[in-house]
Symmetry: D2
Amino acid sequence: KLHCIQFADQKQEFNKRPSKIGRRSLSRSISQSSTDSYSSAASYTDSSDDETSPRDKQQKNSKGNGDFCIKNIKQADFGRREIEIAEQEMPALMALRKRAQGEKPLAGAKVVGCTHITAQTAVLMETLSALGAQCRWAACNIYSTQNEVAAALAEGGFSVFAWKGESEDDFWWCIDRCVNVEGWQPNMILDDGGDLTHWIYKKYPNMFKKIKGIVEESVTGVHRLYQLSKAGKLCVPAMNVNDSVTKQKFDNLYCCRESILDGLKRTTDVMFGGKQVVVCGYGEVGKGCCAALKAMGSIVYVTEIDPICALQACMDGFRLVKLNEVIRQVDIVITCTGNKNVVVRENLDRMKNGCIVCNMGHSNTEIDVASLRTPELTWERVRSQVDHVIWPDGKRIVLLAEGRLLNLSCSTVPTFVLSITATTQALALIELYNAPEGRYKQDVYLLPKKMDEYVASLHLPTFDAHLTELTDEQAKYLGLNKNGPFKPNYYR
Amino acid sequence: KLHCIQFADQKQEFNKRPSKIGRRSLSRSISQSSTDSYSSAASYTDSSDDETSPRDKQQKNSKGNGDFCIKNIKQADFGRREIEIAEQEMPALMALRKRAQGEKPLAGAKVVGCTHITAQTAVLMETLSALGAQCRWAACNIYSTQNEVAAALAEGGFSVFAWKGESEDDFWWCIDRCVNVEGWQPNMILDDGGDLTHWIYKKYPNMFKKIKGIVEESVTGVHRLYQLSKAGKLCVPAMNVNDSVTKQKFDNLYCCRESILDGLKRTTDVMFGGKQVVVCGYGEVGKGCCAALKAMGSIVYVTEIDPICALQACMDGFRLVKLNEVIRQVDIVITCTGNKNVVVRENLDRMKNGCIVCNMGHSNTEIDVASLRTPELTWERVRSQVDHVIWPDGKRIVLLAEGRLLNLSCSTVPTFVLSITATTQALALIELYNAPEGRYKQDVYLLPKKMDEYVASLHLPTFDAHLTELTDEQAKYLGLNKNGPFKPNYYR
Amino acid sequence: KLHCIQFADQKQEFNKRPSKIGRRSLSRSISQSSTDSYSSAASYTDSSDDETSPRDKQQKNSKGNGDFCIKNIKQADFGRREIEIAEQEMPALMALRKRAQGEKPLAGAKVVGCTHITAQTAVLMETLSALGAQCRWAACNIYSTQNEVAAALAEGGFSVFAWKGESEDDFWWCIDRCVNVEGWQPNMILDDGGDLTHWIYKKYPNMFKKIKGIVEESVTGVHRLYQLSKAGKLCVPAMNVNDSVTKQKFDNLYCCRESILDGLKRTTDVMFGGKQVVVCGYGEVGKGCCAALKAMGSIVYVTEIDPICALQACMDGFRLVKLNEVIRQVDIVITCTGNKNVVVRENLDRMKNGCIVCNMGHSNTEIDVASLRTPELTWERVRSQVDHVIWPDGKRIVLLAEGRLLNLSCSTVPTFVLSITATTQALALIELYNAPEGRYKQDVYLLPKKMDEYVASLHLPTFDAHLTELTDEQAKYLGLNKNGPFKPNYYR
Amino acid sequence: KLHCIQFADQKQEFNKRPSKIGRRSLSRSISQSSTDSYSSAASYTDSSDDETSPRDKQQKNSKGNGDFCIKNIKQADFGRREIEIAEQEMPALMALRKRAQGEKPLAGAKVVGCTHITAQTAVLMETLSALGAQCRWAACNIYSTQNEVAAALAEGGFSVFAWKGESEDDFWWCIDRCVNVEGWQPNMILDDGGDLTHWIYKKYPNMFKKIKGIVEESVTGVHRLYQLSKAGKLCVPAMNVNDSVTKQKFDNLYCCRESILDGLKRTTDVMFGGKQVVVCGYGEVGKGCCAALKAMGSIVYVTEIDPICALQACMDGFRLVKLNEVIRQVDIVITCTGNKNVVVRENLDRMKNGCIVCNMGHSNTEIDVASLRTPELTWERVRSQVDHVIWPDGKRIVLLAEGRLLNLSCSTVPTFVLSITATTQALALIELYNAPEGRYKQDVYLLPKKMDEYVASLHLPTFDAHLTELTDEQAKYLGLNKNGPFKPNYYR
């Protein structure tokens, strides 16, 4: 297995190309975006923090435990309340605690994690713990940590290394503190973006000998894993939880259907009725955006490159156009393609005064924002996340979040969506940890259909939804097991 | 290859179990349903036909050609007009004629076909002919032939053997006349239901030596092919065109969204606003039905066995219930499951007076209609396709099409949907006929994604839809060929 | 009062101008359209009738009563079943029978009626009878009578004078037989179109001395009454039931939302998804059509003359255009204006091949059909109610119902809508008949708001809908009576 | 006319009963709510203000003019930019400036106004000025003034007396400074809430001799005027602009359709998909809320007292229930009734944990919030405008804005809606000021239909909407003037 130790620093290479499928998780970061701005949890965090670096402080929780590094342990009570509120909207994890607690399916598991550290993550961590696991955790983004939640976790005995506003050096230091510890070696990895996995590959490749599997959450992290796999360097099985059906539908279609409205309202207070909108891309995100705006009385045009998605747009009642055909008349431009340079300077030049431009897609490359950084254009920051870019003739376009993801920057991700993600992660950990020898090779796997269905079923009680069970006769007729899986793997 | 000759008469066996996935083509028959009633084209057919069997008549077209057997060659002009009207709504085939005509990609192809014989099929056949193929054709259903179209085809020189109202003996006789002909041997099969393929296997197994491939259209036919393949008896490559993305979306989601309303209105004149409806099954068909009824002001409940589809129903705004929870209060019950005995006598007993019951699903097994054939219940035929079943206390339920497919029996399939099917068939024939040696083995294949996309693209001009093209830079960024395929195979 | 006797034959004048508001009842005829074709009930009527005129037959029902004139008394049983089925969908009238039967609020009323004679009318007549009234009835349209229903009514003792296919002479003869009868004089008039009222004015003006009121159902009839009133010639109070809120909403918005889809499907089998449609007029009918088509995936444009309705169209998500801007590109043109020459020859010349043109509006003047009767255009009847009009260059437009009302000609009016109309008529009769002296003058009145609300309330049980009652405190706070009316009269 | 001087201080009485119709303007205050909190413009106002009362400061603008009293003249530039941005979304006022500027229809008008002082009001004031009017202005709410806008107005020469955070004494002082001025007497009143009118009645009744009319914007102000009129004390004509069709549709249906989503998201981040919601009241506001939530995938129940609205709810696809039937199962409760005590303690006691309760209706009486102020319940403020009320068993309900209007407190009113209001006000002023003697008596008038249509038409260009014009022939046929009005006055 030693061939996998020669792991060069491929970080640059990793980031050169996103996955072809191109859909992103809402709750993840691509590695360079571990330094992206991240707004959603900002409101709860005190702004009057002292300036001492957490790394320089002596830290202890009320039981005298000091194996953590956070901003301020005194915020623990406040964080605890946040966690309790989140618990109420994460019924699936709570159910998992109850159902699986007796058998402790993660007994013996030593999980090292690197994710956003939020109230929802805390519910996940405390669930893993209830199922028997030990956890050490770092943040996958230097801005996204909710300090009070980190405090509550530390107070509860978790070894957390994270605070809001880490430097890049802090970032890697925190990760290192999670894995480089005397007398404790992880046997499971839960990663979001691949930075933790990368660090272990680079610094502690031998650690993989004991690791039973990696659970990866983000598009970028998954892409890195596939590259490793292709290169024959993946030493352990990895589970791609990003592409589970349930998670994809919620992250993209259902979540974006709401967040496009929310993001636009919070930033611009625009009235949707009667507005002309062009949505670039009619994948799941585009479908969600289009449906919401149509319902609010907007007139929506769609651009597409894929004829199958294009035909769906037609049948759903949207005029399929090239961007140039409508760019002069639209009030709002939304990109949802996963592609780059979908809206370029030439398009921006032709937009009408007051046109709003934003991105709901994969990364900040969809709108060529760089092309707007020229001397003849004036930028005016009118609100947080809202810039007016002003042409010499006085025309303004309203650029949101500087072309970064609108729903991450200007909206919030509902806890319910995060619940689906977290439940998927927990089940993937249980599956990999308990899988019989040989079920999973050194490869990247999709979540088994049956577990995907299980995640969905755990969320049905939220809606007081009652599933029908197959009779024996029906199951036989359909050739199905009564407990699923009910659909072929390719079914979406 | 001789092992594939030992083909037993497995007809009974074939029909015992439908495919697990369970979605049916709108334009197909399962083999036993080659004798099903079939209404859509009835209106154009004269009812005053003489009683002589076509098999007993001397037949000749105006050029003296007599290699066909149809009802009445005099109807050719009327049929020609029908074909011309159909041509206007099948732009993709017409485009295919133009684009591919120069190169005659089917030059040398000898296609034997067994499908519904309608104006749309005629457009397909004349397209195949324009592309270079010779065609001989029989009907896949004893009722569905449009006699005037068959006449127009015969007049145009096609060897057609089909008429409305064949006996079962006629049915096989017609098929035999297509294949058992001096000096001509087919090298391609286009089948809908598998009866033609079955007949060749049984009677002329050696014929497969010259056959380059089978294109199969129906769920049942595809199921039969998979069984042959499993049993190692499939001697040639076969293309499953039923499961192409484009065809599935149109046959199921888009077509049913319209036909559920149409079928209910034509049979019952029911007002949808305010009606309580339960839809059993939230696959593509169920999604289409629910969306349409919701839009018309109905209150829709959904039943599901699959938690993923169930969760989608919730997020789309439908209460997920067990049938029994709402059966007393609903005004309309619609099955779309592909399952059997979804609505049973116990449910029917509890329905309220006037409740409408119908099936949009796979086959006529979803509603246990047989259970209503008991002495205490009175059946009253109030209209074509509409029965009142009357309980001893006077309660009536309104049963549509005796539980058979509502949209086949009581609605029409739009030509546009048939256009997609026919285009897919034509492209599959071209692909199999021209594929280099070795690309396809003796197995069942899905239509390549790229051809699926091509079918879609041929239908975009109908909507005056303008597709965007990738720039070189974008294609490189996404790792895609500029001409597609644009999505992985599993993408729906 | 004699001045009102000098009633000239103003028939021509009556019809010159429709009411300004311009919305029509679905179930009414303008007087010239008492000779319009009328399709909806055709299916139930036997076509093998003998050719003897009913006027020449000796007629008796099973009890020996012969005071009626219909087609064939033997069809009574069949008609009775039709009535029973209609009863199930007219719960409000049935409730009215129960609630008001004890007190017989129409005891002593002698109602002469002139309406479409259908199963629904029969339920109304039998309700009036149950409430104490005597009834004599003629048809308001020469084609619309359901012969079997007339038979059932005659068998049940009603003096009905009507059959399908009357001559114009028959038409007036039947009306005359209703009123010109020894020893019986009407004291209430229920009219639909104003022909009965007109006849009495012209022939038996003295009869008005005993008449307590007129209930009029149709736009045209109401318009005639307002003209009479203006001219000082209206001798009795009249109730305009056409403009009640409930009736208007159902006749226009809710009914058209469904019948536009139904009418288009039954005539053309068109697929709605992706179609471009222009709807002329955004009143209630236009709103219903637009909402339905949008929901089915059509792209809908709207034309309007009224800026308030225009702004509503914008806010509801429709592009507001002039007809000429989109006429070349649309697949379907629908008029709903109440205006004339909305679609003229110049527009028709510019439509694309295959464009469907139809009218959902007030009368058959919206599309200038006459302009298509020129020698260079070929008309081809392709189905009942469907004409292809063919230009010299081969372009066809698909004209539905020759520009007459699509929903009357090619769809059916749901019984539930007719129930609302019939209930409104019954209540108006009760109100006028029982009103204390002086409450109503010789003028045209709208249905009192409270009765409008009562009609609505009687239909709520159909939907198992539960109304909330005001508490005393709330009623006082709002300054309302707990039993209504709840809104000012102008509220819609 | 002296009888109108004996105007007692009826302020208490005024506020006892809202109008029966019960719909409120979004941009107004009832008089007691001149002290209500008001959030929408807060973000732009500096928080570091000094503590000196504006009344105690010497104030001068850059031209040396000191006839105003505001917070800080230095903010004028910032305010000017706000006004310029607002101008872009108020095209109708800008068009009015252009169209009417030549003739100066308000030349000689001396307008005293009392409204919210925001950027939109500034656009109105500057339009009035451009049309020839002189203006003096006070705020109608002690919290709602945008200080920077007031500064810009003062800098521009307007006599403005208003700042954010006035005391009640300040409030009346500012009003008095507007009217009690040497050598200037108002001849027009523009009021929002009736406080200004009240003050003049009370303090300077003789001033009415010169006043040509009052334009009143709010429900409460209109109610006060009707009371004055009833009591014979209204000395001048008054225009009720609150009930114009255009304004009503936008304030209620279109605005609420968006603000219900926005208000809920900003306060609770709730995911709408699959949520069960009960909406109390199905007037225009309820219709807007229901449509929006249904479109987002919520399951919506409706309660109603009015059977006509109830029937509409049914036909639109909502289950009509009594509150108690669903109170245990719903996730969100929304009141839109204009009534009081619609949600009472008993209902609140039965709600499930986490239920969100909010009010979109007339006033803060719809939810009996007072009943929650009992010792056993704990209130926890979790965010601005969000309280958790906690039952002894731990159950929490989430109460928004303490039962005040959600869309005023937690959302923003789009400028486009305010544009409609402001344009209506401007036109009403022009109409009253220029009306020939005798057209308007001492009564309360609705905006003439034609002007209502004109307001709408001025807003169509925003949507690039193209109105169709009647031909002469059509106008004659319909009996209409080609320039409108196009509908009867009662048409909505």
